[in-house]
Point group: C2
Chain length 183, copies 2
DNA sequence: TGGTCTTTTCAGTAAAGACTGAAAGTTTTG
DNA sequence: CAAAACTTTCAGTCTTTACTGAAAAGACCA
């Protein structure tokens, strides 16, 4: 299914099995259920652990290690977002920043840096935003998402309220502690 | 760099070159610049076209086909989101729905369907939301993103306004045309 | 229409990635 | 501390994917 998401087919199948089975499974049961070699399962689980997508636990009266997925789907989303950021986004941003630090040797290079900067800012904006909303309570997050495009009405509302408008005021106002302005 | 994003390394390099060069390039210049065979470039461009990430154009006085990326970075994000949805998300949702339509044969299967339903609803919520906000003007979109976690204050504000509260009221209210409620 | 320039296709090959079984490693237990 | 129970590692093999050059196909022009 979603086997093109940086994680391979086998690993995806293992994860899916753990997710739907809803209880901790030992490696050999996974191998049997999916008809993989024991060592393949071992490697898959190792990768899933490195993504923090499964956790290991010991069940009373059984010496084998058991694995399970987080029980909250939102938790899965949060972890995935964090890991992808750490592994893919951050290194990309870092390379972009390095390139932007170089002195452009000529007009062409200056233009290229301009385009790289645009890309950098875009990625950073998206990343920061996702990081921010991931921190919200699940309850708040779902409310926000359910609002969908309707969110724009809230923004309009905000812009129409003089003290909360998004434009910087020329004369300093008394601090309102509402923090709706953004730098 | 981001070569693990469902698109292979070669294709990524071609796209990056087109993006930073900022002008339409013919296939043979790409092949020369990146040291790929002409046929490899041809295939890469074909894939990029199928993703609608490059467009073909003819330049006066040159018989060769030239390719370029959209000039607006936001446009790139929008196209990427749409295509990924079409290719990956929608088929996944469709499979999930099919599974949910099946009558559970026993208690275990019922539980599994429950978990699949949770996943389905999560994906659908995220997808719908992203679809919705992609439709916003770039200007509005950036405002929203820049707000980051601060968005929660707007939600709180909304919840505190009696006529706009997110809870359904028991007695029907006169229509306010604000549409902030969501079904 | 034939000739020139350009792009696409495709069969074969090269490279990358996934999977396995055997062996080594680790932990628990009598 | 040795045997038993379990897990990990890794070299070799199998499978999948990427890339190439040669040939075919298409477009334009005289």
């Amino acid at each position: 299914m979603g086997s093109r998401w940086g994680i391979n087919r086998t690993v995806g199948q293992i994860y899916a099995l753990l997710y739907i089975s809803g209880r901790p499974l030992p490696a050999d049961e996974i191998a049997e259920a999916l008809n993989f070699s024991r060592s393949n399962v071992s490697m898959g689980l190792k990768e899933l652990q490195s993504w923090r997508l499964v956790k290991l636990q010991h069940l009373a009266g059984d010496r084998r290690e058991h694995f399970s997925t987080p029980d909250d789907v939102w938790q899965i989303v949060r972890i995935l977002a964090e890991e992808r950021r750490r592994r893919e986004i951050d290194p990309t941003l870092s390379v972009l920043r390095d390139l932007l630090l170089m002195k452009p040797g000529n007009e062409d290079e200056r233009e290229i840096q301009g385009r790289l900067a645009e890309m950098h800012d875009l990625i950073e904006l998206l990343t920061r935003w996702s990081e921010d909303v991931q921190k919200l309570e699940t309850q708040q997050l779902t409310q926000l998402l359910r609002l969908g495009g309707g969110i724009i009405r809230l923004l309009d509302l905000k812009n129409s309220l003089p003290l909360l408008g998004s434009k910087r005021r020329k004369t300093p106002q008394p601090a309102t502690e509402d923090g709706l302005d953004e730098d």
